[in-house]
Structure formats: C-alpha cells, structure tokens
Symmetry: C2
C-alpha cells in the first residue's frame, strides 16, 4: 500500500488550487481557530489540558509561530530559527493578547501572500532552517497542524461542557 501512496500508478495534472484560493481556505480556517480561542474561559485557555498535552493557548501560539513567520520566510527567503520565532510570542499571557497577535498575523499573511511568486510553491525550501520540502508541502503542514490542534481544542471544550464553534463555518 505504501508504494501506491508514494508513487501513484497514474497521473492527473489538473490544477486544484491557485494561491488565491488557498489563502481564502486558510484564512477561513484561521477565523474558525480564532472563534475556538474565544470559546475558552480565560483560565482554561492557559491551564487546562487532557492526558498531559499542552493547554490550547500553547497550541495556538505554535500555530502563530508557523503562520506569519512562515509566510515571511517564504517571501523573503530568510529564515530565523524556530526558537527565535517562538520568542516573538513568549509574552502572550492573556486571551486578549493572544487574539491581538492572531489578528496581527491575519493582516500580515494577507499583505505578504500576493508577493509569493509563481513557481515558488513548488521550490524546495528548508523552512526555519530545519524542515526541507516543497513550499506547498510546508504550507499544508502549517495549515494541517492548525486543524489537528484545533480539533484537540474541541475535545478540551467538550470535556469542559462548552460547545465549540461549528466546524463547517469558515467565515
């Protein structure tokens, strides 16, 4: 089965996504993640978790480290270390600060996105000086990582008796 996955027997070169569409998809997800942050009571956002995992604020900060800094690196081709980026967000201690950083990232991503040149998405890049692969692959890593951890936030919320925002709503 693994061989099938890595080397599909047949090819389909149809275009699925352009950069514009991916930005809209991602910002739709980011809007939903913002509403997930908002759904947490302040203390639970920073202190609550299950099974020894990280609290949702820490997961959201991880998303922030990959978001705007990731696009900055893709556009400028300059990469700080992941640890340096992490320190950008180390002072976030309240829900309001987290949401403010989230909104700032939303704007920065929107501003930088149009500057990603055609062909760049297929270039091989070592993002944050560490993870090497095509640019589209890193972008999907950022987005999929957000979806993955947001889903975990939904379990935290449910276990607290709080209804999470609807998954299908991406406005």
């Amino acid at each position: 089965m693994e061989k099938d996955i890595l080397e599909p027997a047949t090819t389909n070169k149809a275009v699925v996504l352009t950069a514009d569409v991916l930005l809209k998809q991602w910002q739709g997800h980011r809007g939903l993640t913002r509403r997930t942050i908002e759904a947490f009571p302040e203390d639970k956002l920073f202190n609550y978790s299950i099974g020894g995992m990280r609290p949702f604020a820490q997961l959201a900060i991880e998303m922030l480290t990959m978001g705007a800094p990731g696009i900055r690196g893709i556009v400028t081709r300059k990469w700080p270390s992941y640890e340096q980026v992490d320190s950008e967000f180390k002072n976030i201690k309240t829900k309001a600060q987290l949401l403010e950083a989230w909104d700032k990232a939303t704007e920065e991503i929107n501003e930088l996105w149009p500057q990603i040149p055609a062909g760049r998405f297929q270039e091989i890049e070592k993002v944050f000086g560490q993870w090497e692969g095509p640019v589209y692959w890193s972008l999907f890593y950022f987005i999929d990582n957000e979806i993955h951890h947001r889903g975990q936030g939904y379990v935290y919320l449910r276990s607290l008796g709080i209804e999470p925002p609807p998954f299908w709503d991406r406005n």
Copy 2:
C-alpha cells in the same frame, strides 16, 4: 477582518497544487489515520470517548463515508444520499473490519482519482445531494474533517496513556 478574508485585496493566481500532488497529500494523511486506528485497543476504539463525543471508530467511519463515496460522486456525477452511504459501513464492528474498509477505500480512491477531469475541481457541485460548493472545496472538507477528527483521536489516546503515531509522518 471578515471582508479581508472573503475578498482579498490583491490576487495571486500561482498554481499551488495539481491533482497528483493532492492525492499524495491525502493518502499520506490517510496512512496516518490508519496508524491512529491501529493505536487504539479494540474496545476503546468502539466504546471510549470524552465529553459526550463519538468514539474514534465512529469518527473513522464518518471519514470513510466522505472518502471513496465522495470521489465516486465527483467522477460519476451521481450522488447517493449521505444516509445511503452511511449504511455501506454500518456493519463495521471490529478493528479488523474497519482497517479492511480503510484499505479498500485507499485502493478505490487511487483508481478513481486519475479519472477526475481537468476543470472538474473548479465546478460547483452539490455533493451527496446536500452540500453545494466548488469540487476542490468539498475535497478539502473531506480531508480537513479527517485531520480534525484524527486530532481528537490523539486526545483520546493520550488520555488513555497511549502515544499516538507522529503527526509529521505521512508515509
């Protein structure tokens, strides 16, 4: 902010993904979900959950309803109701049956995928007779829904003291 998300001020028409690449991405995710199913003890797969949510087997069956049946509909333009599709999987009662259905879907998706015509990804389609949008949007719904629920399975596993498979491994 919402306006920015829905109508980006600038445009970027660069191609991010072709169908081939998306298939590889998705099957990479599906391989990881398969390993997540395998990580559950048999009884916990079908009976364990947190906060009134569904057990992981039910979440995985939901993924199956969107997987091969979704691609079948995209290729043939014929859509059974979601309820009809759901009944395809109603006899899954063991981990072995779930994994067998998973592997069957993997093969069916690989076989059908090359038959999706160019341009089809941008067509507007009412999938399962209910959810209307561009085909790429429905496909990402299927994939993102899988990532979302698999992330929830990770919390179930952690709360059971079981280490989930590494998120970054997509082979």
